[in-house]
Symmetry: none
Subunit: 202 residues, 4 copies
DNA sequence: TATGAATGAGCCTTCATTCAT
DNA sequence: AATGAATGAAGGCTCATTCAT
């Protein structure tokens, strides 16, 4: 009665993972559906069983990528000193990105695509949300530090944005091969820099 | 007696400027040669009189864009205190980018394209050079500050990279519409943050 | 003991009926096998248990459609006056088509397909036979009328063809929405026109 | 200054003519753009210089076909007796169609396509207009005949529609190979039939 | 027997590039 | 030197058909 039994969800994820590799390697604009089909070892037509069109596949890859960050934001708590919390957060981020440098490729691609107006508002929305999640965690940590008397009362929003921007920028340099983000010294250097900027006593 | 005296170099630059507008608006991957021809008010075939192919046109636009930064790097001197020099540099950068937010679009596009391996090594090289120019200026300022006893002796290279990354990241947020980089408070906030991180006395 | 007794012939007919609906709605060139599978509430693969390929399914639908006309031709007899017989035949046809305007759609579709040479000789044959059946009935009635002295001795074949053509044309106009073939006046108008053309006394 | 000088309108017409042949031969649903490109001896891309997409090419062919009828309708006047005018009109039509039997193919294809709902309303409109033009001419002739006392006062609209339907139907039979519309006897037979139906004296 | 997931041939359409004028 | 008509390679997507279950 029933033909080939397939876990469609699992297969969809498998395709997404292969597609992410392909997009990371060839670029969001240059990769071909046939590249993905080959990488995932399925026929071209099969891709369209799981994704309406190329764009839907790309979006799925991006969402899948964003989902991988949820855990990081959730892993932060405010039990310890604000200084320790911030060091911990920075450290976790560097570890995560060091391990997933490939998927960062695709993120920059998405953001680049998001820059082109009108059509890609959805990308912007998704990306903005991810960005805000990062910023929100930092804001929580910094405000907690101010409340605890560890940090000076600075412009929290701008500081948080600047910190995320800095991490983003360093990550970008890593992707570009300008510096080596797997260098274990990074978290300490960056944390120090931020904490010095925040310290009451300097 | 010559039937039509045309300054080929001037016309080439005119095309580059129009092409830059087109690329900024449509994106480095989506713009068409015909878009450029229309914008520059020349025939499609004419473009090929000035540029071997699409890639050469794109590269020319990127180089033209990079050249616009040379002045900024050159404008920095070390006559004043390191703190003042750094504030001045940050301030100049924000002013420049606020005025040329459109051309930043294209930079991110180039960098995104540069991420795709093999073929685009040239872009990476060009971009790396531009990045290094920025970093070099900061390194000069910071080292000068250390020598003058204004700054602590920190990991200069990483600090400089982090600062450029931060500026890059904030700029990116501006392009994405996440924050407003024309806000006049940015230079002071960022300068303070950096200087606090560098200060001996805090 | 047999696990599932299925009347294959009945199921085949059920599929044909659903397929006819689908073809009528979507058009002979635009309908998809999956449309039929959905409409008939069977799997796509199942269709191929009953029909070798799409073409065989289409042909089966057409034959099924043609069969519905056999009764009409058979219902005609020559007991009454030729004038009455012709009026009766015209009237029956209009009633039949008024009730089955939907299936006329499919007929025109078949004919349209039949127009494409080479491959579809079979359609032409089937259609020609149906056409000839209609014409034959008219020829019988007219010849009967001539024999009975009611009609003039005209070119029977051409007259019959013209009459069928006229009915066909009016039907087509009805399908196209140009006129309303359910208007009860049609049979009388058409019969009068034909009979005036055939009358000895005018 | 100016490249290849081409009469774009003439070339467009040439493509339309070749496309009409192709569509007539292969069918409106089965022909491929590459068929047309081959027939017109141009590259596939060239077709898209003249027509936005396949549908626009098809529509252009149809409109071109319809335009060929305008002259016929215009050629009718009411100077002579209504009987003579009608004979003349019928005769002109048969001559025209005999010469252009190929383009009739495409007309039936259009009409068939027009039958499929929603999307093809434009075809229906174009076709309805053409149909009405034919009917209008007949109505003029018949009304003129009634006024002149040559014809009986019958339901003019239905008569006219029936006559056009008849011509349409016979034409269809011709296209289908069921009868030979180039047979010179047709105009006389049909005219007689119609005139007998219209005559006061029979 | 029934199914629907998988497939890939095939077709429309785009666009960088060429070249006759 | 300048042009834009012409081109065809390339790639996204559809859908009839197959076949493992």
């Amino acid at each position: 009665m029933s033909p080939r039994i397939v876990n469609k969800q699992a297969k969809k994820e498998a395709i997404i993972q292969k597609a992410t590799e392909v997009i990371s390697a060839k670029g969001i604009y240059s990769f071909k559906m046939s590249d993905v089909a080959d990488a995932a070892d399925v026929g071209k037509g099969t891709l369209y069983e799981y994704f309406k069109d190329k764009e839907e596949l790309v979006t799925a890859c991006y969402v899948y990528f964003l989902d991988s960050f949820i855990d990081i934001a959730d892993s932060v708590d405010l039990k310890n000193s604000a200084r320790a919390n911030l060091r911990s957060y920075i450290s976790v981020l560097f570890k995560h990105f060091s391990k997933n440098i490939d998927s960062v490729h695709i993120a920059f691609d998405f953001w680049s695509q998001a820059l082109q107006s009108s059509d890609n508002r959805q990308y912007v929305k998704l990306m903005t949300k991810a960005y805000n999640d990062f910023v929100a965690v930092l804001i929580r940590i910094i405000k907690d530090g101010i409340k605890k008397g560890e940090f000076r009362a600075i412009d929290v929003e701008k500081y948080a944005a600047a910190i995320v921007g800095m991490l983003d920028g360093i990550l970008f340099q890593g992707v570009m091969g300008i510096n080596d983000i797997t260098d274990a010294k990074w978290p300490r250097v960056i944390s120090n820099m931020i904490l010095n900027g925040l310290s009451k006593t300097g």
